[in-house]
């Protein structure tokens, strides 16, 4: 501290007599302060952190005094960025960032509006990598791999270390180019009350009823049995009503993502292939080379296939039979309260972005020593799923810059994007928000120490599973335009306005219609619909769409440790 005071006096002396670089010197002071008081722990030494921040100060000099606008969805990670890191970046570089937080659907709508109107609404977006199929076809998104070699070379952080990012495969187009830079990642994993599943009385009772051990369900039949067991046989624990299943189903964009993100992939709708099934992905869209050729079975797709309808029937059945009535009034954002309240035995998949919200020691689902009573594990799979298929969804919110943004704004925004994922900042951000993007952070000793308090999250991210839980892929040519159909038709099915058969048939036809319209608008890899044929022709072929499977699964479970060993 004495040294810092002395440095400040010295700095003031130089400023008075030489009058140059003083502002930069105060920026260095700011950087030192942030490193000292906020950006710890880090995988970098303090001297390496200082060197990295010095680079930002120098690189940002031409943009000092600018104000730039970025937008992201409202997640803990982005709140930390908007409230703390934007302020740090301003004090260190002199670039004022207005980092807006809004709904995920709003981010997509705003990006679409900029693409449509050409107005520079934002200088950068943190948008899900689910849009990669849109971006590489649209020609409207800055190709980061080209930018870093060209007009962005002077503002590309030498220590960015792209190879350290675990999610680049999700943000790279089929052309091998990088379109987006991951900012945060989280997965959809099975969530359950490990303490309840470990109780000898419940284990004995379950085995008597179902003939196998109570444990982590490996398939949907076991999940259903466990849901029935807690909901209908156990019913109450310590005088509180408990539920064997939990979900959310309010008509809202987030109910569409729930189905398109993961339900159909876990059911086994698509083909084998990573990060997404080929030629048919989990949206049920078939591609020929890179061209989407149809979503309906009659065109070779699988969106209204027996597997997709099986997935939707299970969603509806479980919602009606096993979930609290309140589920139908909840969205992605409002759904957390039931898990925190300690009334839910399991959820088939759960967004790990919520981990920071369920680890407070004052919650009913956390032990007094801070370790959780819950665990995350691989989600159970449906009867159409086969080894080699994606096992669930992973969200990779990623920096995306549009070509319609002026170059200087692109460069200033790129500096901020790199700042919030830099090694100086990244580990601290990861420890705060638990949405890791860097291998070095995941493998750090700090994460090892934290692991017992995170219920399996660290084990997931240290395993190959992080490559098997994947975002929406490149088969989807217009994510903003097509995502809206999911929630509309799924909501009508939930509300009983359409049967599962009617809803999925209409959804598939709507997707086909949209693909047809795109075939006139997109250039590279644009859709080119297959002619309509008898569905049986496609169902008789190997792979997806898969013919109706009349057999029921036999429930199968594993102890927790064995269940997560499949991640190794």
């Amino acid at each position: 501290m004495a040294f810092r005071c002395f440095s400040s006096y010295l700095l003031a002396f130089f400023c008075m007599f030489f009058g140059f670089h003083c502002v930069a010197a105060s920026q260095i002071d700011s950087a030192n302060l942030w490193i000292e008081e906020e950006f710890q722990p880090s995988t970098l030494s303090k001297s390496a952190q200082i060197a990295e921040m010095n680079w930002f100060i120098e690189a940002a000099r031409p943009y000092k005094g600018m104000q730039i606008r970025v937008v992201s969805e409202t997640l803990n990670t982005h709140e930390y960025e908007a409230n703390r890191l934007a302020k740090a970046f301003y004090q260190i570089t002199g670039i004022h960032v207005v980092h807006e937080l809004t709904g995920e659907d709003d981010v997509v709508k705003k990006m679409s509006a900029q693409m449509l109107t050409g107005q520079n609404l934002y200088d950068a977006y943190i948008s899900d990598s689910d849009l990669i199929g849109t971006h590489f076809r649209s020609g409207k998104v800055l190709v980061l791999s080209d930018f870093m070699q060209g007009q962005g070379k002077q503002v590309t952080l030498p220590s960015l270390d792209l190879n350290d990012f675990i999610g680049l495969k999700f943000t790279t187009g089929p052309d091998g180019k990088l379109y987006q830079l991951p900012d945060q990642q989280f997965a959809n994993l099975y969530w359950y009350r490990h303490d309840w599943f470990s109780r000898p009385d419940f284990k004995r009772q379950f085995k008597d009823l179902y003939g196998y051990e109570l444990g982590v369900p490996q398939n949907w039949q076991a999940y259903e049995d466990i849901a029935e067991f807690f909901g209908y046989h156990v019913k109450t624990i310590d005088g509180t009503r408990v539920y064997g299943h939990y979900d959310y189903a309010k008509p809202d964009p987030s109910v569409g993502w729930r189905i398109s993100d993961a339900w159909l992939s876990m059911a086994g709708v698509g083909d084998i292939g990573l990060p997404n099934g080929l030629p048919v992905d989990e949206w049920g869209i078939r591609v020929d080379q890179c061209r989407p050729v149809g979503a309906s079975v009659a065109r070779g797709g699988a969106l209204n296939s027996p597997a997709a309808k099986y997935a939707m029937r299970k969603y509806i059945d479980w919602l009606n039979k096993f979930a609290p009535e309140d589920s139908k009034r909840l969205t992605f954002k409002s759904s957390l309260k039931w898990l925190k309240g300690g009334q839910v035995a399991q959820q088939i998949f759960w967004y790990t972005a919520f981990v920071p919200d369920v680890i407070s020691s004052n919650l009913a689902i956390v032990n007094p020593d801070g370790t959780p009573k819950w665990r995350v594990a691989p989600s159970p799979v449906g009867k159409y799923w086969r080894s080699g298929m994606k096992s669930g969804y992973q969200d990779a919110g990623s920096w995306t810059i549009l070509k319609s943004t002026p170059l200087k704004n692109q460069q200033a925004a790129w500096l901020y994007a790199q700042f919030v994922v830099s090694k100086t900042v990244s580990l601290r951000k990861t420890m705060m928000t638990l949405t890791p993007i860097r291998r070095s952070d995941i493998d750090s000793q700090f994460m090892t120490a934290k692991a017992p308090y995170l219920g399996g999250l660290v084990e997931f991210y240290r395993s190959n599973a992080r490559d098997v839980w994947t975002p929406t892929g490149t088969n989807v040519p217009d994510y903003p335009g097509m995502a809206q159909y999911w929630w509309r038709f799924i909501s009508d099915i939930i509300l009983g306005k359409l049967t599962v058969d009617e809803g999925m048939d209409q959804l598939a036809n709507k997707m086909d219609q949209h693909l047809f319209e795109l075939s006139h608008k997109q250039g590279v890899c644009s859709p080119q619909l297959n002619p309509i044929q008898s569905e049986q022709i496609w169902l008789d072929k190997p792979g997806s769409p898969k013919r109706f499977d009349p057999l029921n699964q036999r429930g199968r479970t594993l102890p927790y440790q064995e269940a997560i060993n499949v991640w190794q």
Binding site: V71, A86, L116, L121, P253, W487
Partner: protein, 249 residues
């Protein structure tokens, strides 16, 4: 709830009139759409019984290109949202489109991009680097404003008034610390009220404003309107409209 019984009666009369009118148009099988907007200069205002402004011009061009008949009326913002939600063949604009409102209406978008700022008192400036810096303060906004919902959703203390410009007086009397307002309309309101609050402390939010329609509007009508709007951006009509009303594009 209503400011006065006279205002209430006027509102009911107007509502009955437009209901009867829309119902009769529907009965004649004419696809006439009742469009509602609200006074917010420079976007929409009534001067000498004459409707004018950015939105008035936009609606005229939009419906002409979509080959649809319409009738434009003015009501307070909160009421245009409720009325449109409840009545077939009604649309309202400019409405802030958000994830929370997405399922309530069908949309033609974007009709207007707006920036919102936080204005402080002339003699008590509150420099803000991030929006979070405004957390300790009381923020004024107005009823039905999407930005009020946005701020409330993020845990800010928000006081709402019936009309946006009432906040100027609230700010001057120190009953609020900051006024959250759309920047272009705030400038006009300051001029009208002979107030000078200077530039906003922070421009914190960009809103996509759209035309929200009752969910029963036929898809074909909606598609015609959307493709007309897209064309208006592509052929430069919208850029000229922004320039005409001196609104930054």
């Amino acid at each position: 709830m209503f400011g006065s019984s006279a205002l209430f009666k006027a509102f009911v009369t107007l509502l009955m009139f437009v209901n009867v009118w829309a119902a009769s148009a529907f009965a004649q099988n004419k696809p006439v759409i009742q469009v509602l907007t609200y006074e917010e200069a420079p976007f929409a205002k009534i001067k000498n019984n004459h409707k004018q402004g950015f939105i008035v011009d936009l609606v005229a061009e939009l419906f002409k290109r979509a080959k649809l008949d319409y009738r434009l009326d003015f009501l307070p913002l909160k009421r245009i949202l409720v009325t449109t939600r409840l009545n077939e063949y009604y649309c309202a604009l400019p409405v802030e489109r958000s994830q929370e409102r997405e399922v309530t209406y069908k949309w033609v978008s974007p009709v207007l991009v707006s920036r919102y700022g936080l204005f402080s008192q002339t003699d008590n400036k509150l420099p803000l680097v991030t929006l979070n810096d405004a957390k300790p303060y009381v923020i004024g906004s107005f009823l039905g404003s999407g930005v009020a919902e946005y701020l409330q959703g993020q845990g800010f203390t928000v006081e709402v008034t019936a009309r946006s410009e009432q906040n100027i007086r609230m700010l001057q009397h120190k009953r609020i610390d900051l006024w959250a307002a759309e920047i272009e309309s705030a400038k006009q309101q300051m001029t009208k009220n002979n107030a000078s609050l200077g530039k906003p402390e922070l421009v914190f939010y960009t809103s996509i404003r759209a035309m929200a329609c009752h969910r029963s509007i036929p898809d074909t009508a909606l598609e015609n309107l959307q493709s007309a709007l897209t064309q208006m951006y592509q052929d430069g009509f919208m850029r000229k409209l922004y320039e005409k009303y001196n609104v930054p594009f």
